[in-house]
Amino acid sequence: MSASLQTRTAAPLLQVDHLTMRFGGLVAINDLSFEARAGDITALIGPNGAGKTTVFNCITGFYKPTEGMITLTHPDGSSYLLERLPDFRINWRAKVARTFQNIRLFQGMTVLENLLVAQHNPLMIASGMTFLGVLGTKGYRESSRKSIEKAEYWLEKTGLVERADDAAGDLPYGAQRRLEIARAMCTDPVLLCLDEPAAGLNPRESLELNTLLRSIRKDHGTAILLIEHDMSVVMEISDHVVVLDYGTKIADGTPEEVRNDPRVIAAYLGVEDEEVEEVEAEVEVVAEQVEAEHKA
């Protein structure tokens, strides 16, 4: 409890206030408010169709919310109203990067090229909006070299350096997921939004993902907003969990608080669906594991 109090006093990096998103008559998000603090891993969970991806799309500018305010405050104090920025500025100015639930890589480009495209804006400036680049000035060559070094750093971090010159579409599924994270990190974000990064990963890959996310937070100070169905990932690494059901927030707190919240259990149990039961079982197993670890 005291630990959570301490983190709560840290400055909120992302503040979502009374966010509502309607599609015609469908209310996908209903008056949602939550905070994500700098340096935290915040998980956004909920049953299928709860509106999690829609929240991401509002934060990253792909949807304009019907109502509400999304404020991002950088560590240096500058703040941005995300609902008013066009999508590409949200990445470039406000420094929010994201991945997609159904992977969106540049499949016909190589792994390295994917990471270079992510550094488009700084490289564009270095190339003097292309004019200096055509001349091949020293400054541009220097920053071009640096961009490759940066890409190499992230390739090493995600274990993809061997595949740097292969087409992104040729990578196995798990590697594509990691590449998408590496690509997002190449934009130097302060907030990284991951939409189900562990979907389709095997247990070993899932574990590697945990390590990667932890290191992103620790070594780069990047806060992470995470949508995930895999409870082993959520309970392991998140500092703070927000639970959505039918677009409404039903719980908000530390993993332990959320796990024991009767409304969360009801939301997952309430739907008669095998998948949900599986999730429920997983939650319990992981909870036991975590408890056992704590005792040890």
């Binding site: 792909f62 990445n91 016909g108 550094q119 055509v134 010159d165």
Partner: protein, 521 residues
Amino acid sequence: MTIAAQTSLPAARAAESQIPKAAREAGFAALVMLGLSFPILALRTEQNMSNELILTSRWSWALIACIAVFIARFVQILFRSALAKTLTVFGSLVLLGGLARAAGAAFDTFAASVFAIGVALVALGLVWERRAATTPPSTRTAAERFAWFAPAKPYVAPFALGLLAAYPLLALAAVGQGGSIKWIDNFGIQILIYIMLGWGLNIVVGLAGLLDLGYVAFYAVGAYAYALISTQVIPATFPGLGVWAFWICLPISGLLAALWGILLGFPVLRLRGDYLAIVTLAFGEIIRLVLINWVDFSNGYAGISSIPRPSFFGVPFNASDEGFAALFGLEFSPIYRTIFLYYVILCLALLTAFVTVRLRRLPVGRAWEALREDEIACRSLGINTTNTKLTAFALGAMFGGFAGCFFAARQGFISPESFTFLESAQVLAIVVLGGTGSLLGVVIASIALVGGFEILRELDFLKQVFGESFDPTQYRTLLFGLSMVLIMLWKPRGLVSTREPTAFLKESKAVSSSLVKEGHG
């Protein structure tokens, strides 16, 4: 030896069991052909001397068509090797041609030689198929199969450039002054104009993945910009600059076309896919219709004539004492201007290629390709997609404008007739056939399509096969369509179907184009 025989046995048996099926399918296809050819080929109405319509029948044509379809379908099902299929079908067609000649005219030496060539091709096809059926399918990758070619690779581009540069002189040496004008102008310059247009459109369609069906509009803007400025503005303001008109107008035409590209692109590039295609198509037509109807401005259908021709950097190509020939102590001949024009368009085309190659490796070029791959991902990475599309559109338009300016200067006369949708379609066909994004592909496709059309004029010997009234140029469109269908069947991603990466860490590996997207607006 025995192992080879054993492995070949099942394959041979499998092929045998295919024969009835292939025959059935082929028979069906021939029936369909019969149904189609009955109204089109077999029966024909003609006007006789007294203006009456009479029905003539050409059953032999229908029969030949049916046999050809039968063979093609039969071979297509039964054979496995693509080369064997091509050889056999082509050989059968030649053979049928020989037969037709023998039946129509006489079994002379010409018919006999055509017949013999056909038989030889069919035999070659059968032998090749036999070989393909008895050797196990190769497991080598494309890279391994072309490994022998690797050492020659760095020399290909310089060699091709050297050939291009030497082409007019080679033509001159081969067929002399009189004959070479045709080869330099109709083949060289014409193909190079299309290569340049193809490379320009390649930036928009191939790299940025924006389907532009109205590219000819920018070609028209460039051409009319030169025509109007050089015939009206310059004589009225600085008549002394007349000889320099082309060199002054060339950049102006390009910039005007780019400006039009931006003006059009700004509202239009928000549209995606089919919508973009339709709006650009409409834009192409609007420009043409304005040129037709705004007679005060563009002189309508009549077009603009006596457009000044380019000068040799201020020295005109004429028979006067200040002319090019006199200055260099040569005898006056129109060939010098043609050769000069050839080098001008060669330089313009190479400029286009140079800029494309250079930009592809810069952030803007990479952003174009990323845009073609996935626009949403681009936006999530902070790329301003509207601006990126606009740069591609404007740059493509600019090269179209340069080409248009050159076209007007070369023809000396332009009218809206030269800027129809068919022109856009042909340039687009060149880009798509070449393999979207590939510069080399555009060159090959231009030579094949544009050069192929010109070659049709030269194929006089076909008259001996099909009779004196046969004019191969009338079959242009038919052959155009047929070759498109065949190439799309054989190489759906275009002739050059790999993509070269723009940067690499250890080694540059070509990306198979099955992974590369076409873009969707």
